[in-house]
Symmetry: C2
Subunit: 417 residues, 2 copies
Amino acid sequence: MTYSELQTPQRTIMTPGPVEVDPRVLRAMSTPILGQFDPAFTSIMNKTMDMLREVFQTTNKWAFPVDGTSRSGIEAVLASVIKPGDKVFIPVFGRFGHLLMEICERYGGEISTIECEWGNVFDPQVVIQVMKNVQPDIVAMVHGETSTGCMQPLKEIGRACREQDILFVVDAVATIGGTEVKVDEWCIDAAVGGTQKCLSVPSGMAPVTYNERIEKVVLSRKKVEKGIATPLDEQNQSDGPKITSNYFDLSQLQDYWSPRRLNHHTEATSMLYALHEGLRLVLEEGLENRFNRHLTHEQALGAGVKAMGLSLFVEEEWKLPMVTCIKIPEGINGDSVRTMLLEQFGVEIATSFGPLHGKIWRIGTMGYSCRKENVLLVLAALEAVLLYHGAEVKPGKALQAALAYYTKESNEVSLSM
Amino acid sequence: MTYSELQTPQRTIMTPGPVEVDPRVLRAMSTPILGQFDPAFTSIMNKTMDMLREVFQTTNKWAFPVDGTSRSGIEAVLASVIKPGDKVFIPVFGRFGHLLMEICERYGGEISTIECEWGNVFDPQVVIQVMKNVQPDIVAMVHGETSTGCMQPLKEIGRACREQDILFVVDAVATIGGTEVKVDEWCIDAAVGGTQKCLSVPSGMAPVTYNERIEKVVLSRKKVEKGIATPLDEQNQSDGPKITSNYFDLSQLQDYWSPRRLNHHTEATSMLYALHEGLRLVLEEGLENRFNRHLTHEQALGAGVKAMGLSLFVEEEWKLPMVTCIKIPEGINGDSVRTMLLEQFGVEIATSFGPLHGKIWRIGTMGYSCRKENVLLVLAALEAVLLYHGAEVKPGKALQAALAYYTKESNEVSLSM
């Protein structure tokens, strides 16, 4: 059998990830391979660590990608930190909170949880109160729940964890690069970011950062692999409970990312090129500018959606500034709308999971996909497809509302200049 | 701080990986992103599975990449198959055998091992004899040990495993795409390949294949993640011992790679493009042609190295046909030679691990790096650098020997045409 070259259609991707990638990042991936111990390559590794620290707003020594999709970073942190029997407290407000529970359970954590209705977040004081009762070793929480379009305030919870000497682990997969994730200021001990969302780098790497509180636990479980351990390593094997996963063993990963460069895996060369270029573009734009850009397009999209006559699933102050969830109008088949958007307009939006599947659509405004022409196209296409499906939407209003927002915005910018 | 675009030197990479990548594969990675459930993308997933089956020479239903570097595929298979207390027999003939032990131990396997001196492989009958005594549940073995440049014959061991109803798991990271790996004919139940070696795709994916014997174990431990499980999934949770890793849970991975497309992770889009194009090039060249090309350049390299007056570490019939290990001449600093090769010629060769570090150099002839001009350059550069270091090598002989080999080869080809 013969196979043909890739032939891919042009798409406008307005999901909560994977999103479109800046052509400069795509081009960076076609850079020829370098050996993993080539000084030209290890210098790229080090610069990537530097840039990750800036994006995570941290002075942590450790900030590097795990080679895998976003959940690989989450699993690396949890597998390396949770010792069997550790008490882990996980407040759940959507699907990815369940994922944290799932992973913690598998690694032998004793889980306590509270759950709120999907579409809400927790009052930090409620979380802090339960923490006092539960007295966990670790609190693990999602920052931005893309499944429900909600963002949990973390600062007060982080400070309470630090005061009570609890480790605070945060899934910032959806938010990193799109809104503030202040690792140090919020007392986050370990944070995990995603590449394929607001950083706008292809899926396949998971940036993590952690501080010396996490490192202490990791080192207490350190074990250098047979076949590469020196006699000194053999002497220094720690006697803490071993980390079950080899691939996700942060004690080995940090040796690989340190000047020792102890071989653990072969760093994913082309993905690292992509991450390096993606982070460079984030910092070139500037974190504050980038966060504002995400807000602008989210606001324009929301204005258009509401002008059309649709309702948002979450509109409160805890709405994620890069995901807009829309209630599917009664009598409309959500999947049929999505299929028509894709087939007729080449526009992709998302459904949701579990209890929200078929109830809401999710539109992402993330990274390189977060652009004016994309927002205008998704509004035009959504209106047309809904009319085609017989939904009661107000024709012509959505684009006018978005345009009004954009022109007001640019007037304000020029007036303030 | 500002960061600059990637600026990378040109290199000739002659290590056992990561190796150079065909420009067509590099270009494929700059293809724009597609959503993970876009039919245009799932079709690429399916074609990649088809091509993997051809490369693994199998009719297995399951053949897909794990999103991570090579050892992620090894860990996915072992984590999903080994239940705590399972007896695992691992014959070790180099570093990557130790890695298998390491991973199996972490997942609770009871390990039995035999080890032979690095530079040798096992007589299959010896392995089979020990198997009869140990009566393991699983035999795990490396096919090509890049640390020592040796290749273990597997066919007889595979057949003995099948007869005794033992699961046979093979690390074919180094060999896949460079020499025969006959999964079905050799009765391999699960095999793991590497991308950054003879397949000549960047590091970051690990193709695996497994048959229904492995699938049966995996399904007996199946558990669909909370947050996406349907009521039917909840009913059908199996009661076998759970798989510790979420990321490496093959029961979830195979749901994602099946028509159900149950969301587990976001497939690494650009890496899948690369794997698709890399596999397409392998099949376009043809497996037999490709294996012969690897043999040709290995032979030319070996002829040159020996003509120079150097000795090979392994020359027996079990030598890996894509890695050539050379004894470092007495009194020569191996790392100084490697550094000069890189700095003056832009040529990279490798050192080895553990007991062989500083004793041998390893030169890979893999994938796109396995080309005449690369072999000739590494010989010319090695001779010059060794002379510069005062080694006793015979000037001018290496290239003449390689050229003689190449011209004889091409004469034979033209005569036989």
